[in-house]
């Protein structure tokens, strides 16, 4: 028994080391926030912090979906286009007076594209990079065709309140959705058989298949779930501004991939967590907000963002390596 306990104890020490090794991202986040707070008085106002929270709602939900897909060992390039398309269809449904029915319609558009991704990957056997690129084109084409390049207006204050502008316990509803999705996705990944099998498949798809896991069905489910979440993202987007455009969320996939990678999730699959993805999301959110507050023009912002991403990844890697010595 004594031996057993010592094994457990050394395991705890290992866990502590592992935590330290993965804490580089928190360090980077702290440095960024402190630096911005010192440089910019506007950054450290409470209003601005709430503002950041609202801004990261869309990116957060998209990044949680992306984290699932990446931990599974796949990639989803379609999320921005799918969110845009779902937003457009939902706005048209609202404009047509369908009322609450617009919500399941928006979710179904997202889930439908996710299902298409899954079917292309599993049954047509194309890599997810290609399959989701196909969905990206189709979703974008659909949104452009439906809008004919115009902005779709709708009048539904209840809808805007539900998904973006309302408040619950003092939180904007967009932020409430982020919290709900965060909790659900964290639970799903860390505390369910479904989540355990996502890690297993991401660790080695071939092994998982030989071990009897339903790899194909899991892939279709994860992509469909990611798609449904993009339906939600599309609705939050149109609720926030009160109209829908075909390019409403274009490029969201890149910010989401950046957030997931900043959160330490391995692009090869098998490793990663929703909590750390949230930190990655906050990093990107704070970065975007800070750069805007410092009155840096958009084009330079993009360059600085690129440089910051590589700096943070290097800090993270440095912390990991420091642990191994």
């Amino acid at each position: 028994m004594a031996a057993d306990r010592s094994i457990t104890r050394s395991n705890r020490a290992a866990a502590r080391r592992a935590f330290l090794a993965t804490s580089g991202i928190y360090l980077a986040f702290a440095i960024l926030v402190i630096a911005l707070a010192i440089v910019s008085p506007a950054f450290r106002t409470p209003e601005n912090l709430i503002n950041i929270g609202r801004q990261v709602a869309v990116l957060g939900i998209a990044s949680f979906a992306m984290a699932f897909v990446i931990i599974l060992g796949e990639i989803d390039l379609s999320i921005g286009a799918v969110a845009s398309a779902a937003g457009v269809v939902c706005a048209m449904a609202l404009a047509a007076g369908l009322g609450p029915l617009a919500i399941p319609i928006g979710l179904a558009v997202g889930a439908g594209f996710g299902l298409l991704n899954g079917i292309l990957i599993v049954h047509v056997a194309v890599p997810s990079f290609i399959a989701t690129l196909v969905s990206y084109f189709i979703a974008q084409g659909l949104a452009l065709t439906l809008t004919t390049g115009q902005t779709i207006l709708f009048a539904a204050d209840w809808f805007r309140a539900l998904f973006a502008t309302g408040t619950l316990f003092g939180l904007r509803s967009a932020l409430v959705w982020l919290v709900i999705v965060f909790a659900a996705m964290w639970w799903l990944l860390a505390r369910t058989r479904f989540g355990a099998h996502i890690y297993a498949i991401g660790g080695s798809q071939e092994s998982a298949r030989m071990l009897g896991l339903a790899v194909d069905r899991m892939k279709i489910m994860v992509f469909t779930l990611a798609g449904a979440l993009m339906g939600l993202v599309g609705m939050i987007l149109i609720a926030r501004i009160g109209n829908a455009r075909a390019d409403g969320a274009i490029g969201l996939e890149f910010d989401a991939i950046a957030a997931v990678v900043l959160g330490g999730t391995a692009l090869g699959g098998g490793y990663g967590s929703i909590l750390r993805t949230l930190v990655g999301v906050m990093l990107i959110g704070v970065m975007n907000n800070g750069l805007a507050i410092l009155n840096i023009d958009f084009n330079s912002q993009q360059v600085i963002k690129g440089v910051l991403v590589i700096v943070i990844v290097l800090v993270d890697r440095w912390a990991r390596n420091a642990d191994q010595k």
Partner: protein, 512 residues
């Protein structure tokens, strides 16, 4: 042994029956009408050379591959094994040769995979029960591993034991063990053999694949031999002698083609002194003679590939020196090593050895492209002529030099790899697992080419995990254990057992 047979209503029907199974892969018939019947409570050894079809047959029984023809029945009922899940549900558990342990998960998560204790249909994992149940399985089997351990921190042998624990976690009716001892230490081996005894007594049918003769004779009740994808013979273990078994596997008496002459009289081609790479290779001394085939045997992770990579300058050494034909040899990289006539042929021909999308000819001339270049332009005619010449010399079976390499069989791909490197006319050739995944016929041909290379004056180092292979092809055999040379023996005096003894030797016990 085996006096006990559990009485069952279905006593007449074998617990697992594979009849007339045929399986084709592109370019090769892996199994050709093979029948195998496994009885409850027996240990059934399936023997055969690499490429005989054993692993393919096991993967069909495990539901991983679907047969092209044939029928499978479990306890008399015909079944269709759609996937691994179906097989597991029928009580067929498999410990695969290529470890399926997930390195990104912990021990308990691996053992309980697919049967994780949970409530609400899997929506609430019961982690306490997960670790408790996994630990109970480990304890029951006598495996001393903490269920919380990250698999990434386990040794190859421990991972193998975790895999065995996973297969035994439920209540298997049939347990398939595909070369389970290849990465086990002695203690773990003893544990496994005891476990097999207990399972057998409980009526579990065990299919056991191994290359080790001693294990087969000690453990099994019956033996089935496969060769070239065909069933050769099935019989009680007691009806086989060692010689008869080898003959059944190889299809002929194994001839001795080893060099009789004293190796010491041959000129030294490559000497290695104190070569070290931290954590992998530990102060290795080795002399390779021109005209000699030196085998490098040892367990997985003993440092054989690492040593070859140091010699080929694919990795940097931390200490040590080398000479090449008496001249100091300190290549700065693979390119320089190749220019000095030292080539390393990787064990993984798909990853490192071949460009699958290119033609046979393009692959063969790739490393020596410079020689076909005239002022920056390639002479395609000369390339094709050279390629055709090498194809003939090595007996590459392809429609033309323009055939894409991806369409060739494993054996022919391996010959293309050899041709590619031999076209550089190296003086020292390091071959890493030159016949892995190659069928028996091509294997014999490759062995002949290796001998011919040495006879033509090249110094050849052959790394192989197949002891029969090193025993058949090499003049001397060096055995590595834990990064060190545990011993060097003339092939004529070595047996599989004596080599294994060396491979398991603690570092520092070296004898020569």
């Amino acid at each position: 042994m085996g006096g006990f047979r559990p009485v069952s209503v279905l006593a007449m029907a074998p617990v697992l029956s594979l009849s007339s199974i045929t399986k084709r892969f592109p370019g090769v018939v892996a199994l050709d009408g093979v029948t195998l019947e496994i009885e409850a409570g027996e240990v059934h050894a399936v023997m055969g050379e690499n490429g005989a079809g054993k692993s393919t047959l096991m993967k069909i029984a495990a539901g991983v591959h679907a047969p092209d023809a044939g029928a499978i029945s479990v306890a008399g009922d015909t079944v269709r094994l759609r996937d691994a899940q179906t097989a597991t549900a029928l009580g067929i558990e498999t410990v695969f040769q290529e470890l399926t342990v997930l390195a990104n998960r912990d021990v308990a998560q691996n053992i309980m995979i697919g049967v994780e204790p949970a409530r609400l249909g899997g929506l609430m994992l019961d982690n306490r029960a997960l670790y408790a149940q996994a630990q109970a399985v480990l304890d029951r089997l006598g495996i001393v591993i903490d269920a919380h351990m990250a698999v990434a921190r386990l040794s190859a042998g421990e991972r193998q034991m975790v895999e065995i624990a996973r297969a035994c976690a439920g209540t298997p009716r049939v347990l398939i063990l595909d070369e389970p001892t290849s990465s086990l230490g002695r203690q773990e081996e003893t544990l496994l053999f005891a476990l097999i005894g207990r399972l057998k007594a409980a009526g579990v049918a065990i299919v056991y694949i191994t290359h080790r003769m001693s294990e087969v004779f000690a453990l099994s009740d019956r033996i089935t031999v496969l060769r070239d994808g065909r069933h050769v013979v099935t019989g009680a273990t007691s009806s086989f002698t060692r010689q008869a078994l080898i003959r059944a596997m190889v299809g002929r008496d194994v001839e001795d083609r080893r060099r009789g002459a004293a190796i010491a009289d041959l000129p030294e081609a490559l000497t290695v002194r104190g070569l070290t790479r931290r954590g992998a290779v530990d102060a290795v001394d080795l002399t390779l003679h021109a005209g000699e085939v030196l085998g490098l045997a040892g367990l997985m992770g003993a440092g054989r590939t690492e040593l070859a990579r140091l010699i080929a300058a694919a990795d940097k050494s931390d200490a040590g020196s080398m000479t090449l034909f008496g001249v100091p040899y300190q290549p700065g990289g693979v390119g320089e090593a190749i220019r000095q006539g030292v080539v390393y042929v990787s064990e993984d021909r798909k990853e490192l050895g071949l460009v699958l999308g290119l033609s046979v000819a393009d692959n063969i001339v790739l490393p020596g492209l410079r020689r076909f270049s005239r002022g920056g332009l390639l002479s395609l005619g000369a390339m094709k002529r050279a390629a055709r010449q090498w194809m003939e010399r090595l007996g590459v079976k392809a429609a033309s030099p323009d055939t894409p390499v991806s369409t060739l069989s494993g054996g022919n791909q391996q010959k293309v790899v050899l041709a590619k490197w031999l076209s550089l006319e190296p003086r020292v050739i390091l071959l890493d697992e030159p016949t892995r995944g190659v069928d028996v016929g091509a294997k014999a041909e490759i062995h002949e080419r290796i001998r011919a290379l040495a006879d033509a004056g090249a110094a050849v180092l052959v790394i192989s995990s197949e002891l029969p292979e090193v025993l058949a092809v090499c003049d001397r055999i060096a055995v590595m254990a834990q990064g060190r040379i545990a011993g060097i023996v003339p092939a004529g005096e070595a047996t599989e057992e004596s080599l294994l003894d060396l491979a398991f030797a603690e570092a520092g016990l070296a004898v020569a």
